[in-house]
């Protein structure tokens, strides 16, 4: 019909761009915090070493440097990014006349782009960490054993964690957007029962050993590969919830 605007935009691409409109929150700020964390942690390590005169004791301290969880900041921060990208961006995009489908596709693309961006960034940091002998003090922020042994493995693990956190966070945010507080409460109660129930079941049938054996057999990479199944379910579930959601005040 002639009244309908003739110049057509790729609405999915527009949604991706919309998420990147203000790069401060999702790009600049997290890296500033991450680099600050690295600087402060290394500084603390240096202080610790400076105060241990005996070389034998120093070796013991260095062992403790191998398990820093500071890099986890990025993962937790990205859950918040995921929640906000639904909670405030969805009502906003609806005002711009974006369909729920195009919003979901654009947002999923945005999550994948951010996951690639951050997993590559974290992997580069882990390579620097290895090359500098643990920032000169033998510390580990990024090349920690549970992220994998080689840069390629770490890239895969970082990516899997980020994808999982983005899609799980956005699915929960979708529940909030559609059913507000009551929906979130119901969801977490149900989820809690599910976890406790699964735990009880595993205990009753004495299945913990088998579960442990399953993870051992799958290995680190195999276990993380399975996380994509959970991520995919969260993505599908989140879209199903959003499809009938109306932005509320």
């Amino acid at each position: 019909m002639s009244a309908v605007a003739t110049r057509s935009h790729n609405r999915v691409l527009s949604v991706v761009k919309l998420h990147f409109t203000n790069p401060w929150t999702t790009i600049t700020f997290p890296w500033i915090v991450m680099l600050t964390i690295i600087a402060l942690t290394v500084l603390v390590w240096m202080l610790v070493l400076a105060n241990i005169p005996d070389p034998a004791d120093r070796a013991g301290a260095r062992e403790g440097f191998g398990y820093s969880g500071s890099s986890g900041f990025i993962f937790v921060y990205m859950i918040v990014v995921a929640v906000q990208s639904i909670n405030t961006m969805f009502p906003f995009a609806q005002g711009y006349g974006v369909t729920r489908r195009n919003f979901a596709l654009g947002t999923a693309a945005y999550f994948v782009i951010l996951s690639v961006f951050y997993s590559v960034g974290l992997t580069i940091l882990s390579i620097i960490e290895d090359a500098t002998g643990g920032w000169g003090v033998g510390g580990s922020l990024f090349s920690v054993a549970y992220f994998g042994e080689t840069p390629a493995q770490r890239l895969f693990v970082f990516f899997a964690i980020l994808i999982l956190f983005f899609f799980a966070g956005s699915a929960i945010a979708a529940v909030y957007v559609r059913w507000k507080g009551i929906g979130i409460t119901t969801f977490f109660i149900a989820f809690g029962f599910l976890l406790v129930g699964a735990g009880a079941l595993a205990t009753l049938v004495e299945g913990w050993d088998e579960i442990g054996a399953w993870f051992a057999a799958a290995g680190l990479l195999g276990s993380f590969a399975w996380s994509f199944v959970i991520s995919a379910l969260a993505a599908i579930g989140g879209y199903a919830v959003l499809r009938r959601a109306t932005p509320k005040n």
């Binding site: 057509s8 935009h9 929150t25 906003f92 729920r100 489908r101 932005p247 005040n249």
Partner: protein
């Protein structure tokens, strides 16, 4: 005439509440419509239904001839910034205007920039930190500069001062003259916008109770003022929209009068005055309560 919106038997219920109740109307292309009604009358729900944000419980909606729900072709020709529009937490007005260009095919960035200066919108301050009026101004600017073939303004002037409201009305009319489009303006500041409106839809408790050209409405009621006896004698059995009385004086609102009737009223010593759109709508939408309390 071409209809951009055709709604028939449209109902949206929330539990036992019918926010929109069996609404049937058309919106003609390139006209300015006023969607008027009290708070909670169903204005926002109706506009959300027309833009596919809400889902109908019953009835049909055609926007540009198609169902708007999840219809990208239709929705990219609409712009609906709600009065309570949420903006992303880290957005500043410049981010809003920058991103709007990606979604509205007719977006005019120069016009938006000019409006931002005129409305004194600070471009580099977080939306959260803007005053109520500044947030409203951002919505107004998006609505105007989007030049969407079907544009909704939902209580656009909340917190806007008189100068800014006048600026909005002026720019709306100027831009409408150059770029005709269909505009639906929801408001309860009826008298202020009454000269802008070409067609009026009044919604009350979910029902469309008035659907008429604004000019017809303006002439559709008359106030008759005079001594109570003379007024009563003149009004006779005509339907009364509203009645006020102080002592021996009465002021009664009735329907349109013919020139002969007007002459007769003057002979009877009665004063006739036009009823403003606002008064007319107040009388129509409070009629029920008055009857119930009587």
């Amino acid at each position: 005439m071409t209809a951009v919106v055709e709604v028939s038997g449209l109902t949206r219920t929330f539990g036992s509440l019918a926010a929109v109740n069996d609404a049937t109307f058309r919106v003609e292309q390139n006209q300015i419509y006023g969607l008027l009604g009290r708070n909670g009358a169903g204005k926002t729900t109706l506009m959300q239904l027309l833009t596919g944000q809400q889902f109908a419980s019953a009835g049909s909606i055609r926007v540009f001839g198609e169902n708007p729900v999840e219809n990208a072709a239709v929705l990219q020709s609409t712009c609906f910034i709600k009065e309570s529009q949420k903006y992303p937490d880290d957005f500043q007005p410049r981010h809003v205007f920058k991103s709007a260009a990606w979604f509205f095919p007719n977006w005019d960035a120069d016009f938006a920039a000019q409006l931002a200066i005129e409305f004194r919108v600070p471009l580099k301050r977080k939306m959260k930190k803007l005053s109520r009026g500044q947030v409203s101004a951002v919505g107004v600017i998006v609505g105007l500069a989007s030049r969407a073939p079907l544009t909704f303004f939902d209580e656009p002037y909340l917190g806007l001062d008189a100068v800014a409201r006048q600026l909005f009305y002026d720019r709306l009319l100027e831009d409408f003259a150059e770029h005709p489009r269909s505009i639906i303006l929801s408001t309860h500041l009826i008298d202020e916008v009454s000269n802008l409106l070409e067609h009026v839809l009044v919604i009350d408790e979910g029902r469309i109770i008035i659907d008429a050209p604004a000019d017809d409405l303006r002439g559709s009621a008359t106030n008759v003022v005079g001594s109570a006896t003379a007024v009563d004698a003149f009004v006779g059995s005509r339907p009364v929209l509203h009645r006020d009385g102080i002592g021996g004086l009465a002021s009664v609102t009735i329907g349109a009068l013919t020139p002969t009737e007007r002459a007769a009223a003057r002979t009877a010593g009665l004063e006739l005055s036009p009823v403003s759109l606002q008064q007319l709508i107040i009388r129509t939408t409070t009629e029920k309560e008055t009857e119930q309390s009587a």
